[in-house]
């Protein structure tokens, strides 16, 4: 199946129309080239916009992770203090262990009060939380 795009039309038109219409064909080529340039520019713009969006998405992720870490920090500090009393060299090894997705979602959800922030967290983890 042939895709009927602008480039195909240009390669065929001079042959079909002959010498009289060569000026018109040239004009058409110029127009099409300009259109292509415009389209590629638009593509670039869209790509850069997508990059910005993904960066923003990443920012939200970072915020959520920071929130969770902030929430977990006091409890881990308490744990490490307790451990330090009994064994000073023993660091809090459980801190870096990745918790499951649901636990993260719930922890993050509970750590923030505003509905807007909670909505963000629900979007990030892809779950719905009903209290």
């Amino acid at each position: 199946m042939q895709i009927n795009n602008a480039a195909n039309n240009i390669s065929q038109t001079p042959i079909v129309l002959g010498n009289n219409s060569s000026v018109q064909a040239l004009e058409q080529i110029t127009r099409v080239t300009a259109r292509e340039n415009l389209a590629s520019e638009e593509n670039k713009n869209q790509q850069s916009q997508a990059d910005i969006n993904s960066r923003q998405r990443l920012d939200i992720d970072d915020q959520a992770i920071a929130l969770i870490e902030r929430e977990q920090l006091p409890s881990s500090n308490v744990n490490s203090n307790r451990q330090a009393n009994s064994q000073q060299n023993n660091s809090n090894s459980g801190y870096d262990a990745p918790p499951s997705q649901n636990q993260l979602a719930v922890a993050a959800y509970q750590s923030v009060g505003s509905i807007a922030q909670r909505d963000n967290i629900e979007q990030i983890f892809g779950v719905d939380l009903f209290a």
Binding site: N102, G113, I115, G126, V127, D128, L129, F130, A131
Partner: protein, 234 residues
């Protein structure tokens, strides 16, 4: 002759007190439920029970609308959290308080029918608790709370005689109903949290409307149960 008159008077008094008890049984039980909810430690498991029915209603609504339950969490202060994926957010949000009211009515109504049905329903509750533990409870605190609730229902089944099982279940139903009547009022804290706020976000209908709707539904359910109970006693 005076002996027989005394006996007759005594039996008449007994009959009238029986009639009074039957006539106003619902209101006496409701009063008992209100008193129990004011007691510091005794009220705690019943708050957990209402919280459980609230969360399981969210979950069941998710299942019925094509979603799934990921986790149910209960907290010692009577709060709860149901994590779901998919399903209709509107129905799931609406069914938290609505479902708890329905559970309260269902427990009271089925317990009122006859002893056998009360017993069968208690067993169904036991099965629901076990099922919840196996499928949706993921943390120790929730496990402990659901185990306490399970023990409560098993104790009702095992240690109360058949005669009192009905009454105990009826009071349990009313405790759930009264709790679910009062719970939506906690949403009026101006913080825009919870099911009311979720519904307000979804429908653009203010949170207060949803709170009033749940409250009205609870009051209507209480009124219907009292009417039904009064009709049955006649």
């Amino acid at each position: 002759m005076p002996d027989s008159a005394d006996k007759h008077l005594h039996s008449n008094t007994q009959q009238s007190s029986m009639t009074f008890r039957h006539k106003y049984q619902f209101w006496l039980m409701l009063f008992a439920a209100l008193i129990i909810l004011q007691l510091p430690f005794v009220s705690i498991p019943f708050k957990w029970l209402e919280s459980y029915f609230h969360e399981i209603s969210h979950g069941l609504a998710a299942l019925l609308t094509g979603g799934s339950i990921l986790q149910i969490q209960l907290f010692p202060n009577g709060a709860g959290l149901c994590t779901t994926r998919g399903g209709s957010s509107f129905v799931i949000s609406l069914m938290g308080y609505g479902g708890a009211i329905l559970w309260g009515c269902l427990i009271y109504s089925l317990a009122s029918v006859n002893r056998r049905i009360a017993q069968a329903f208690s067993m169904l509750l036991v099965a629901l608790f076990v099922f919840s533990i196996l499928l949706w409870v993921r943390d120790l605190l929730t496990l402990f709370i659901v185990l306490v609730l399970l023990a409560l229902v098993i104790a009702q089944l095992k240690y109360s005689s058949q005669k009192y099982l009905q009454n105990l279940l009826q009071i349990t139903g009313l405790l759930v109903l009264v709790n679910s009547l009062m719970s939506p009022l906690y949403l009026l804290d101006g913080q825009s949290r919870g099911d009311g706020a979720a519904l307000a976000n979804l429908t653009y209908i203010p949170e207060i409307v949803w709170v009033v709707l749940w409250l009205s539904a609870g009051l209507f359910a209480t009124y219907r149960l009292s009417k039904k109970s009064f009709t049955r006693s006649r």
